[in-house]
């Protein structure tokens, strides 16, 4: 009897204990444990962008592009070689500041990420790639066009898109080609650039190379980001009266510059930008069609003949976002990493670095040659020339990707 009582009493206690543990598990969310235990552990990937501060628009666009790729990979069953491991994206905000970006990388290291994607602005990427290198974290740069990012000898850093060296070379050759075809009407230029790493570096290279195609640089004007007033710069452009105005700056400043030029009736033969912040942005074309018309730009772009690119554009626009280069470059950066994770079949940082270094990824929709990383730079990466025509952005060069012909000089 007593035995039986004890037995009953014990089983009741067990029941109560079991219920309590179960309740706690539900309350703490651990109820999902059996499911997680069966599936492979997720791969932690840091997605860092400046989503607040001066370049926050670009950062937010970049984050959206990266997350579209992450969602797509996870929806398709995750990383197959890791037993269908999901990508667990840890989002961070670099606040448009290099030091904040570097500090976020330290947090990523503590959180045990396998890799990091993003950075966007060159000055942020310079800091974040170095911080990641300290811990051997593989880092895929999304945009960051400053070539010092891949020339610092960091083994962990990979950039799928081209740097400004490639942009300047491509832009100079294309400009010479366009100018020659029109009977060489452009002989002088003014360069307007923002004063951080990206603008300054691009301007220096341009200044050096424009002479080689017989274009004389009359003046180089720099400005900070943000810069609320472009009247002075435009007055100086007006006084210099160049054939070409070449801006290298971020979105807001590019728009203000183009608007002020229109207001002050400064109409050079062309506004020809290299990595122009707004020239290749649908938002600018839609908001200010008059200011954007005929602007030429050498920039990142997708292959307009690839279905996958057009489909991503549709999906992006369905989210109420503009299909900007930040979106598709981040999408591709995550896809490149996913391919490396598949081949590495490991979350080990060193193995992922090896997989990235040996990448021959061909599943992208960019107008690039074969993927091959040398010193962290994809040597297949290429820049294209674009022009705003009929309220749309068209590829004008190289011919194999073009869907329009250049209009130069721009009509009065």
């Amino acid at each position: 009897m007593s035995q039986g009582n004890r037995g009953y009493s014990l089983s009741r206690r067990r029941f109560l204990r079991g219920t309590a543990v179960g309740g706690l598990a539900v309350a703490s969310g651990a109820i999902a444990m059996p499911h997680v235990a069966r599936a492979a552990a997720p791969v932690r990937v840091g997605i860092i962008h400046p989503v607040t501060g001066a370049v926050s628009y670009s950062g937010a666009q970049g984050r959206a592009g990266a997350m579209m790729a992450v969602d797509e990979i996870n929806a398709a069953g995750g990383i197959k070689s890791l037993g269908g491991a999901m990508i667990d994206a840890l989002l961070a905000d670099a606040q448009s500041k290099a030091d904040v970006g570097a500090a976020q990388i330290e947090k990523y290291n503590d959180a045990g990420v396998s890799a990091v994607v993003g950075g966007y602005a060159s000055f942020i990427c310079l800091a974040t790639t170095q911080a990641a290198a300290k811990h051997g974290i593989p880092y895929v740069v999304d945009v960051g066009t400053d070539d010092r990012i891949v020339k610092a000898g960091l083994k962990n850093t990979f950039r799928f898109s081209p740097g400004y060296g490639v942009f300047v070379d491509t832009a100079i050759k294309a400009l010479d080609q366009i100018n020659t075809a029109a009977g060489r009407p452009a002989k002088t230029a003014v360069i307007v650039h923002e004063d951080s790493a990206f603008g300054t570096g691009t301007a220096k290279l341009l200044q050096k190379q424009l002479g080689s195609i017989a274009i004389n640089v009359l003046e180089v004007m720099k400005h900070p980001t943000p810069n609320l007033d472009f009247n002075n710069i435009v007055l100086r452009i007006k006084a210099a009266n160049p054939d070409l105005v070449i801006p290298a700056n971020y979105y807001n400043e590019y728009v203000l510059l183009a608007r002020t030029m229109l207001q002050q009736r400064v109409r050079p033969k062309a506004i020809y930008s290299v990595l122009g912040g707004a020239a290749s942005q649908y938002k600018f074309v839609k908001d200010f069609p008059q200011a954007a018309a005929y602007i030429m730009d050498c920039n990142h772009w997708y292959n307009p003949h690839k279905e996958a690119a057009l489909a991503l554009r549709k999906r992006t626009e369905a989210k109420g976002l503009y299909f900007t280069y930040e979106v598709f470059l981040n999408y591709e950066a995550v896809m490149l990493l996913a391919d490396a994770l598949e081949r590495a079949a490991s979350t080990d940082r060193a193995k992922i670095i090896d997989a990235l270094a040996s990448s021959e990824w061909a599943g992208h929709f960019m107008p690039y040659g074969p993927t091959r990383f040398v010193g962290g730079q994809n040597t297949g990466a290429r820049a294209v020339n674009l022009q705003v025509q009929d309220n749309d952005i068209r590829v004008i060069l190289p011919p194999e990707f073009a869907n329009a012909k250049p209009i130069f000089p721009m009509p009065a």
């Binding site: 926050s56 937010a60 720099k222 007033d229 207001q263």
Partner: protein, 290 residues
Amino acid sequence: MVEAAIIVPAILNGLTTGAVYALVALGLTLIYGVLHIINFAHGALLMVALYGVYFLYALAGIDPYLALPIMIPAMFALGYLLQRYVIGRAGHGKDENVMLVTLGLSIVIENLALYLWSSDTRTIETAYGFATVDLGVALIAVPKAVAFVGALAITAVLWALMRWTDLGKAIRALARERRGAQLVGIDVEHLYAVSFGIGIACLGAAACLLLPSYYASPHIGSAFVLIAFTIVVLGGMGSFIGALVGGLIIGVTESLGGLFLGESLGKIGVFLIFIAVLLFRPTGLFGQRV
């Protein structure tokens, strides 16, 4: 090399920009003069006003200039309620508390804007956006010319309000002697909120004048507010005339600085003035309270 022919347009451009700076600074100086607090949320509230003007245009098709009679009372109401029910209450009468509350408010407002409206830059294109007034020596963009005239007119109205109305007298009395104002039957808390409301209403006006040539984004306020602080220090804390003259001086200094030293270094002149005023004339050019 800067040609003489572009110095005049640069000065005119500085004056037009300076007038709008002055309008932003006017609100700041009024709030300081009466409440003796530095409103760190001033930039964030300017940003809210810019979004207000943007949405009135984008959703209801109301021209920014026609939005003035809507934005001024709306921002006044926002300012009144903030002072009466948030800043005043949370501050418990201590200046340091009030400062922290306004700082906190600015962070909350900016992040709320980021959450609600994203970091997307909002601009509007009006029929007159690219029109210019040809003065012979310079082309002044119509939105800038309107902003200049508008800012001067609003400053004059505000000055007249302070000088000749009972409300203005009461506010001035409160600014000089709180206890005395209380003793003659002035509702101090109400008047504090009214003063704060007027200061914020100035931002509503500034936003209507600014948006045709600038843009709205969650962080736009900070670009203006640092300049506005400098103007308040230069003009004299609490001085209306000081804010106007200071605004014009800072506008021209910034413009000429940008012309001669380049835009990156151009602002150095503004901050040199700031330091010089603090060193040699801490009360500012017109250093007396409202």
